[in-house]
Amino acid sequence: MDALILQILNGLDKGAAYALIALGLTLVFGTLGVVNFAHGALFMLGAFCAVTMQKLLTLSTRVRDESITFFEAYKEVPYLESWLGDTGRIIIDYSVPLSILLTIPVMLLVGVVMERGLIRHFYKRSHAEQILVTFGLAIVLQEIIKAIFGANPVPVPAPPAVAGSASIGEWFGLGPAISYPWWRLVYLGFSLVILAAVFAFLQLTTFGMTVRAGMRDRETVGLLGIDIEKRFIIVFALAAIVAGLAGAMYAPILAPNYHLGMDFLVISFVVVVVGGMGSLGGAVAAGFLLGILQSFASMTEVKSILPGIDQIIIYLVAVVILLVRPRGLMGRSGIMET
Amino acid sequence: MNNAVLHVSEVQKSFGGLRALTDIELQVEKGKTHAIIGPNGAGKSTLLNVCIGRLPPDSGTVTFDGHLITGRPPYEINQLGVARVFQTPEIFPDLSLLQNVMVPAFAKRDGTFRMSALSSLEKETDLRDEAEKLLEDVGLLQFYAKLASSLSRGDKRRLELAMCLIQHPKLLLLDEPTAGMSRHDTNRTIDLLKQIKERGMTKVIIEHDMHVVFSLADRISVLAQGKIIAEGTPDEVRGSPRVQEAYLGGAH
């Protein structure tokens, strides 16, 4: 029982990342009608925004090490620390949350440039061509990151205040075995906030309503009086920011490397398809569902019965769902059929 | 009517809450041309869609030539001898006109699937001659090597007609076959359809153009709001007060 709850918790944070990526993917699908294979790369860029922030904050200078007196010793001290003392150290500790401040403008810029510079020219072209050009872009982005940050994963520490584990089991009287890293809990909460914010934006603002109307019926929404171009830019940038934030905050959970985006992209596509192409709720539900299923499948008890199931469960579920419910969990007919 | 080729019996179809077809009874006799007329949204195209297997009816049956065809896939229904001209032309835009007409000829000869991967198209001279003949009949032979996408809408429709005719179907369903055509082309199409009649092909035709309907039809069914409100010979239908009221009255 404890193990079960633990696995659900473990699945939740992965599911949250899937949900955030898939949300943007399906939003772009539904609104712009574009299949964006570079969406995973946006997640990866977000993660590297966290890396960059951390590197920027820890830019160091060499100072005399005062603790060593019998010869001249030097040590690396971050500028921030040497300027601000303890305050600086605290700022450095919180580099990942602070990286949100960097991620949002960067992803906004990336999103707008991508939409204006490339995606825009592909609205009228076939899905195959959209897939191909964004696939090319994904390779380019990941290679640029590889050239800058190298091929190895770059670990980014979570703030020390939330470094340990929360004994969730004791909170709910379920036994001490259930403990859960604080940062993952933070990530989960953060994701829920973002999801809520996006949904609130789409449900409550006039703009959001036009976007949702546009996802339902792409032809007629032009009549509603909102500039299509503007809507497309905003939606794409929003999707990029959501993916980027998901990536930045995920960095302490999984040290980012350059092919992180590709790894998450394939799964996110599966998530979108399982949820139903163009369905926002479906994407979120499927994201969490697949995240949890994946962590169940990696339990030793399950693996001993079905070896290797953890490696393929997501794809297996996708195949079964697509065959049983061809439109996905919450999809509607006729989207992206040709 | 024992020699009915197509027998639609108690067919119901609704979309969401909307009733598109209610208790449709329709019998089409062999060799006759049966027109279905009615105002827009009366359910005419839905009825044809049910007949060719595009839409499954909620209840009721469609029998063709002694075979129950409800629930069977469209390609099997076609193989039994039902061909259809669509309201918006369904052709192969990326193939030449000649290829467009040859593809259905292969379906007629080879059935739903044949893996003739290593034989050559060159050797199919019989089918090619037949296809050229059909293109000549519909007046498109001079364009035979053009891509079908380059045709005008009216020409696409005639191409589609040729694609159906090459299969020598027992039953031909035509959904507004002359829409978008000039008067001259319309008359040519009427002549062509009359010729087919002489060969003994059964036709069901949906048409708004009363000129076309009354020059071709042997029987007419009037559909309004998903129900057949009148059926008879052209003269009977023309004289029916209900039809006048529901359809002709407003328009003519």
Partner: protein, 412 residues
């Protein structure tokens, strides 16, 4: 006489996949231009292709690519792309999981070496069989959907194969180390016939070891056969049906065709081409690893095909050769090689050029590849063949005098 010419053009109109009459006029231009029928053209194409391929060791010399290892790769990936194009080019179904068949072909060939014999014939047949069986399974599932769903299903299934090869199937695939041929493998057939193997274990054909030039000629011969079969398929009624499915699947159904068996058969054929390519990879280097199945490898074959020109017969082979050529050149380059290449420039300019170029070569080859991918899709969606055809049309439209039809064929 004129009537005969008309008939010949008519013949061309039905079976030449690239035929477009907008550039050819009716009635014919005159009795002195005798357009060849596609059958004649096909024979010229095959003979020309054979000569071009077999003469590669000579004409690739000036390009610095005339060594067997590289030419072998051209041929192998040519086969892979040719098969992929039969699916994508004809039917428009974009498979993003074709590398799975390549990888499985390699594993099957190595197992044939391990279990049966070092003779390559069983290895090739076994690899194609296994790839074909896998294609039946994957095709049966993913062909239930079309469009983007099909792409994602193939991607998911191939990714599944890749993950399995790394985890549960390690006894068969030897996981990350890769599957190798070992000296103490049973090789029952060889043992039965008392065949002994000296030196490094390599695939062999009747005693001839498939390394160096024999290896290249083996791959070249199979490429020519594969080319011939692909050409026949494209020109056949079956090929026309596949194009018709791409053009309007709906009409196909109401015309009395069941598209499913058509799609499944071409998917299997395409998978077997990939299996053959995988087997050849294993024959020329008896090692099989799971990385061959990764989806970036699937992306690579897509790129080869569109770079050359999807739907054309020789485009994909050209695309494969170009990519493998540049991969070979670019990935071998480094800063010092660049510096010597630009040594004719003034020193400061040279340094600048080297700094600009160095991220694109060596390790950065994939960056160049990604950029190339984007440039092709954006500016030349028809690929190089489309570019050649446009140039040809431009020249013919502006230049005086008529070029014969063979020029067009050669361009193809």
């Amino acid at each position: 006489m004129v009537k005969k010419v008309i008939q010949k053009i008519r013949k061309a109109a039905i079976s030449d996949p690239d035929f477009e009459v907008s550039t050819r006029q009716l009635p014919p231009r005159g009795p002195e231009t005798k357009p060849m029928t596609p059958v004649d053209k096909d024979w010229i194409a095959i003979v020309a292709f054979t000569i071009i391929i077999l003469a590669m060791p000579w004409w690739l010399q000036p390009l610095g690519a005339a060594y067997p290892d590289l030419m072998q790769k051209f041929a192998i990936y040519g086969i892979f792309a040719l098969g992929f194009n039969l699916l994508f080019g004809l039917t428009g179904y974009l498979s993003f999981g074709h590398a799975a068949f390549l990888g499985v072909g390699s594993y099957a060939a190595v197992w044939s070496f391990k279990l049966f014999t070092m003779n390559i014939i069983p290895a090739v047949l076994f690899a194609m069989l296994v790839a074909g069986v896998l294609a039946v399974v994957i095709g049966f599932i993913s062909l239930r959907r079309s469009g983007i769903y099909f792409s994602i299903l193939t991607l998911a299934l191939a990714q599944m194969c890749y993950n399995l090869a790394y985890s549960v199937l390690t006894p068969i695939t030897n996981g990350e180390t890769g599957l190798r041929v070992l000296r103490d493998d049973p090789r029952y057939l060889d043992a039965a016939f008392g065949t002994e193997h000296q030196g490094v274990l390599l695939g062999s054909l009747f005693g001839e070891r498939m390394v160096g030039y024999p290896g290249f000629y083996l791959c070249a011969a199979l490429l020519i056969i594969a080319f011939y079969i692909a050409l026949r398929i494209m020109r056949s009624p079956y090929g026309m049906m596949l194009r018709a499915i791409k053009s309007n699947q709906n009409r196909m159904i109401y015309t009395g065709f069941n598209p499913r068996p058509y799609m499944l058969t071409i998917f299997i054929i395409s998978g077997m081409y990939a299996g053959l390519a995988g087997a050849l990879l294993a024959i020329t280097d008896p090692l099989a690893g799971a990385e061959r199945m990764q989806w970036t490898a699937s992306g690579e074959v897509v790129l080869m095909t569109i770079l050359g020109g999807a739907g054309t017969i020789s485009g994909p082979i050209l695309g494969a050769a170009i990519i493998k050529y540049f991969e070979n050149i670019f990935s071998a380059l480094n800063d010092s090689a660049l510096a010597s290449a630009f040594s004719f420039l003034p020193h400061s300019v040279q340094e600048f050029v080297v700094t600009i170029l160095s991220p694109f070569v060596g390790e950065g080859w994939h960056l160049t590849l990604g950029l190339l991918f984007m440039v092709i899709v954006i500016f030349l969606p028809g690929g190089i063949m489309e570019g050649i055809r446009r140039t040809y049309r431009f020249l013919r439209g502006h230049g005086r005098g008529s070029k014969s039809q063979t020029d067009l064929q050669a361009a193809e």
